[in-house]
Structure formats: C-alpha cells, structure tokens
C-alpha cells in the first residue's frame, strides 16, 4: 500500500509488454521461483541480520546476563571510503544518563540482544565525533530523498550484520511489512525477514543543510548537528530498485569478504 511495487522496480513495466501467453506463463514461473528463493534467503538471513528497531529499547546485559541499562542508539562511523560503515559504539541509557560504550566491548545478535563483553566497560565521552551517525536518531524514520529531490519513503528499520571484525551497517528496510512488524507485538518484532532493502552503498549523504532551488528541506540540520533531517540517495526515485532478500544475502557475503582483508 505505502510503497507500490510498480513504483520500485522497472521490471514491472516490462511485465505489461509481455502479452504472449507463453511469455506470461514463463513470467509467472520465474516470479514464483524468485519468490521462493527470496523466502529461502529471508529465512536464512533471519539469524544473521540484526534489526535496529527490534533492539532499541531492549536491555543491555552484562556477561552474567543482568540488565545494566537500555539500548538507546547505535553509532556507526560513515566516511566517504566506507560503503558499509562499521558500528563504533552504542548509547546505553542507565539510571537516567546516556553512556556511550565503544563497540569493542559489545556483542550484538538478533537472538540474544546486546551484551557487554566485560563487567567494566570503558565509557567514552558523549560528544559526537566527525563522521559518526546515530542510527536510531539520524536514520530510522527519517525522510529518504532521491537524487532528483523526490521524497521516497521513511526507513521502517535499519539492518546490521555481524561480519568478521565487527558489526556493519547493511542497509535500510523500506517495506510495509517491516512497518507493521514494528507496530505489532514485541515478540514478533525480533523476527527479521528482509523484504525491501535499500543498500547503504546507495545512500549518498545526509540531506544537505540547504537544498537546491526545489525546496527548503534540511533546515533542521542547523539545529540537529551535521547530520540532520534525512538521507539522500545517489539515484533518482524512479531508478531505485530495492534489494530483495536474495540480493541482500549476496551483498552480505560480499561485505564479509571485503572485511577479511584490508581494502585498498
């Protein structure tokens, strides 16, 4: 409903042209096969993808499993060289204060939540460092704008994944189902099934402080710091095709390979 399929994939337009019945039959079969692959891939991803929306507000535990506070935010460092930024810290709310804990001390998974590796974790200063993005504050629910300035969607979820050497930001989920998942019961919120994902590599920048002639969006950046009001893609709204589960899985493997060796 919110994100019509035709809106997303240029393939759909192609469908309309395929009038010959044999073509149509083949199409249906292909679609079914693709859906099946997607659902398989989605199921496999269920364990490895971490949903930010499901984690925010949950307890952060110490090695003994006791709650020490609630997860407020996850910080990644986003520079021009990283297409999938690594998690550098988490923000924990404990006894009325926000504490920033370096990612080095943190384990994260969709099944067991966020856990500290040691009883005494090093808490660093709360100042935002250059290039740092607070995913819940700056990305989740913010406006995503195409390269042509057309508003597209607001992310319903942000996906992270454990790769060798840490946790990385994979992409943003824009599917309606993810939206419903967040509106649903707490139990269901942990069941991450990616449906429509925009690869983080597609995202060019935060919406600049002052947009070109078309509008005035982004003025909140003045107030909210360097990262402000939303995300801008490097493709136009019409050209955007969201990744399906199978593609996400492929991207994930690729991301895993990349982080094995130091990239040039």
């Amino acid at each position: 409903m919110l994100v019509g399929r035709t809106f997303w994939s240029p393939r759909k337009r192609h469908d309309a042209v395929a009038t010959a019945s044999s073509n149509a039959v083949r199409k249906v079969r292909e679609d079914a096969a693709r859906r099946w692959r997607d659902s398989q891939a989605a199921r496999e991803l269920e364990g490895s993808l971490i949903s930010l929306a499901a984690l925010i507000g949950t307890d952060v535990t110490n090695p003994d499993g006791e709650a020490v506070g609630q997860l407020r935010d996850v910080v990644v460092r986003w520079t021009s060289r990283t297409s999938h930024p690594a998690v550098t810290a988490i923000v924990v709310r404990a006894s009325g204060h926000n504490t920033v804990i370096g990612a080095h001390w943190v384990e994260m998974s969709s099944s067991s939540g966020v856990r500290l590796r040691a009883h005494a974790a090093y808490a660093r200063g709360a100042q935002r460092r250059p290039g740092e993005v607070l995913l819940a504050h700056d990305v989740l629910d913010r406006q995503v704008v195409g390269a042509d300035g057309v508003d597209i969607v607001r992310p319903a979820d942000v996906y992270l994944a454990a790769v060798k050497g840490g946790i990385e930001l994979i992409g943003i989920e824009v599917g309606v189902r993810a939206l419903l998942r967040r509106l649903g019961s707490k139990r269901r919120r942990g069941r991450v099934r990616p449906a429509r994902v925009i690869d983080w590599a597609t995202i060019r920048s935060f919406t600049p402080v002052r947009d070109d002639g078309t509008g005035h969006r982004g003025r909140r950046s003045d107030l909210a710091g360097a990262t402000g009001t939303g995300l801008r893609l490097n493709v136009a709204a019409e050209e955007l095709s969201a990744l399906r589960a199978a593609e996400v899985e492929a991207a994930l493997h690729q991301s895993d390979d990349e982080s094995e060796g130091p990239s040039p």
């Binding site: 913010r142 406006q143 508003d151 597209i152 607001r154 509008g215 909140r220 107030l223």
Partner: protein, 423 residues
C-alpha cells in the same frame, strides 16, 4: 506553488501607498486564512447560528476565548512548518514514535472521511436551494475539486473558494442592520454570561470542536511546507495565520450576533432555512439564496481542504512525496489518498438516509484526536531540539499550555457525553 506571485503587477504601476498595502495583504493570503476559513464550513455555520438562536449573545465571550486559542494553536503549527520543513504527521513520527504517528493517522483518516461526507452534503443542500438536484451538483463539485487539486492551479482555485466564502461577510452587515443591543453585545463579548446547563455546555464544546479541528492543524503545517515558507519568510506567513484565524472567528461571531438579533431565544435551530433568515436584513426575500451561495463556497473550500489534509498527513508520515506542485505520477500515494477521500466522500453523501448520518458521526473522533494532537503540537513547539531559537518562550508557553489544557478537557467532555449518549 507560490502564493506570493500576485503583487508583482502592482509595483509596475506604482499604486498609491494604501492600495499597495492592501495588495500586499491580499498577496499573503495563504494557508493560514484557508485553514481557518475551512473551519467555517457547513457544520460550523449551523453551529454558530444555533448558538445565536438558542442562547442569544451568551456564547460571545467563549468565542473570544476560542479565537485566542485558535490563534495560538495555528501560529505554532505555521511556525513548526516553516522552521522544520516538515508537516505534523512527519514530526510526530520522528519526535514521538511510529506508533503514535500511525494511530494518529488512522483516527485522522476516519474522522476526515466523515467530515468530507458532510462537506459534500453541504454542497448538495446549498444547490438544492437553487433547485439543482444534489445528484447533479455533488458529482460536478467532485470533478471540479479533483481537477483543480490534481490537474489545475490550486492557488487560483483556493482564492475562488475564499471569495465565495466572503458572502458570509453579509452576516456582519446583517448584524448591524438588525439593530442588535449594542450594550448587550459588548458586555457579552467582554464578560462571560454563561449558563449553568447541560445544553449550554454541549453547545460550547461543539463551538470549540468546529472552530479548532485537527484537519486545520495538519493542513496548515503541511501547506506552509508545500508553499515553501522558510524562517526568513515566516514573518509574512505569521501575519497570514494570525489574521486568518481572527478573521474567520470574527465572521463566526457576527453569525452568532446576526442570528441572535433576528431569531434569538427561539430555541435550537431546526433547519438551514432558519439560519438563512438571519440574513434577511441584508437580502430580504433572497436571504436564502445568499445563504446558499456562502454555504456552497464554504462547503467547497472545506471539501478540498479536509481530504488534502489527510493526503498530506499520511503521505508525509510514510515519507512518500506530497506536494500539489508535483505531477500525478510523481506523488501517487498523495494523489491516490486525495482522490479516494473525495470519491468516497461524494458517493456516501449521495446515499439515501441513515448512511450519511452514520458516517458524519465519525467526526466525533475529532474530540478524541484534538486533545492528543494539541498536546503534541505544544510539546513540539516547546522543544528547542525541534525549533531552536524559534521554540516557545516562557510566556507564550504558559498561554499555549492553558489554551491546550482547556480545549483538551472540553473536547474530552463532549467525547464522553456523546459516547455515553450512544450507550
């Protein structure tokens, strides 16, 4: 879509100073005036007329208070739009939660659907005074509204609707010609003469509900964004908003005075013809026709603004493109929602009998949304993280808090009353 394109021709001919100022004022007619005036829709006019007929001048002081509250609320909304570049729906999702945003949208959608039906019913009723069947009038109105919003020049259309609404300026004239008790009017305006009765309380709350309605706040914020108002140009928008709110309430006050002077104390209104009879001092025998023209303009304006507010709010909560300056294909969700509300609203308005009444009852939901929405607006406008230096100062904050609290409590009262009445 710029509303500031009108005064350009004025500078070439170098009009005298006063004329220039008037032109300048007309040029900034915009979202503020539209939003507030949409509040004077068919339901609003009948409520004001009813207040005059049943309680004479006694509700006037309340109207003054309502005007203050309306100005305060609308100003906060316009400011939020201008400084954040985002509508209320988007701000609620970002600053509160997805859940709050989603539930606000569901309630707004249902309540506005009910309102749209009653606006189309108003179109039908006013054209029937001219002997045109509503089965002809309503479809034509539907096509016209759809065409100007989706295909045509909305800014021009909104001025046409506003001018039609100006017919209600006949009420002030009528009010003077009916020779109301000047002293009674002024003492009622300046000092409360409230009655301690259930009927008076219910009517008071109805007055608040029809003057401060959620769609007005959603529409204003989004329209300010769509118009492209920035903090630099906010000054003009603020004048538009404050003037619009005051002007529309002054008209409401005169409707009460004119009706009170003509048929005051005759009990509750039973028909639109009675409401029209208050225009007799101006129009004589053709009072009813004059009333019908005004009712038509008001209904058309509201039938445009209400679905627009739904479309803006839901599209921005979802993050989809929403702007009247976009093409149909560029903002499918926005125009889809707009079209759906218009078509369904017009269709239900043409259904015979109880269906209309049932749907119109959905407006009661507004009594539920208003307190929550006003609280959100207040919190947002107080937040420095949202508005920076434009956030509410301490004095404005105190005033706004009182306004929001009073309106909220009274809205809650009518909600409880209505629901209890159903059970």
């Amino acid at each position: 879509m710029s509303v500031i394109d009108a005064p350009a021709h004025g500078s070439a001919r170098r009009p005298p100073h006063a004329l220039k100022r008037v032109l300048g004022l007309l040029a900034i007619l915009g979202p503020g005036l539209i939003a507030a005036n949409a509040g004077n829709d068919a339901g609003g006019i009948l409520t004001y007329a009813s207040a005059g007929a049943e309680f004479g001048y006694r509700t006037l002081f309340l109207m003054v208070l309502i005007t203050v509250a309306l100005v305060v609320v609308q100003e906060m909304c316009a400011r939020l739009g201008a400084y954040t570049g985002e509508g209320l729906g988007a701000l609620i999702r970002e600053e509160f939660s997805l859940r709050s945003g989603a539930s606000a949208m569901v309630l707004l959608f249902v309540a506005n659907a009910g309102l749209t039906v009653s606006e189309f019913a108003g179109v039908g009723a006013s054209m029937e005074i001219f002997g045109v069947s509503r089965y002809i009038a309503v479809p034509i109105a539907l096509v016209a509204i759809w065409a100007v919003t989706v295909l045509g020049n909305y800014t021009r259309a909104e001025r046409v609707f506003l001018v039609m609404g100006l017919v209600f300026l006949a009420y002030p004239v009528s009010a003077f010609l009916a020779h109301p008790h000047a002293s009674a009017v002024f003492s009622n305006l300046l000092w409360p003469h409230f009655l301690h009765s259930k009927a008076f309380l219910l009517l008071s709350v109805a007055l608040i509900g029809t003057t401060i309605t959620p769609y007005m706040q959603f529409y204003l914020t989004s329209a300010v964004v769509d118009k492209g108002v920035t903090p630099e140009t906010y000054k003009g928008e603020r004048i538009d908003t404050v003037n619009g709110a005051i002007l529309s309430d002054v008209v409401s006050i005169f409707i009460i005075i004119a009706t009170a002077a003509a048929i005051g104390g005759s009990g509750a209104l039973t028909s639109a013809a009675q409401a029209a009879s208050a225009l007799r001092p101006v129009a004589g025998a053709s009072a009813e026709q004059l009333f019908a023209v005004g009712l038509l303009g008001a209904s058309l304006l509201a039938a445009t603004v209400v679905p627009l507010s739904t479309a803006y709010a839901i599209a921005e909560t979802a993050g989809a493109e929403r702007s009247l300056s976009r093409k149909l294909s560029e903002a499918p969700l926005f125009y889809g929602l707009l079209t759906t509300q218009l078509v369904v609203g017009a269709a239900v308005a043409l259904l015979p009998g109880n269906a209309v009444e049932l749907v119109v009852n959905a407006q009661v939901l507004n009594g539920f949304i208003t307190p929550v929405l006003l609280t959100y607006i207040l919190i947002l406008a107080n937040r420095r993280s949202v508005l920076g230096s434009a956030a509410n100062g301490p004095r404005f904050r105190a005033l706004a808090t009182v306004c929001v609290a009073v309106v909220s409590v009274l809205s809650a009262v009518v909600l409880v009353q209505t629901v209890a009445g159903w059970l």
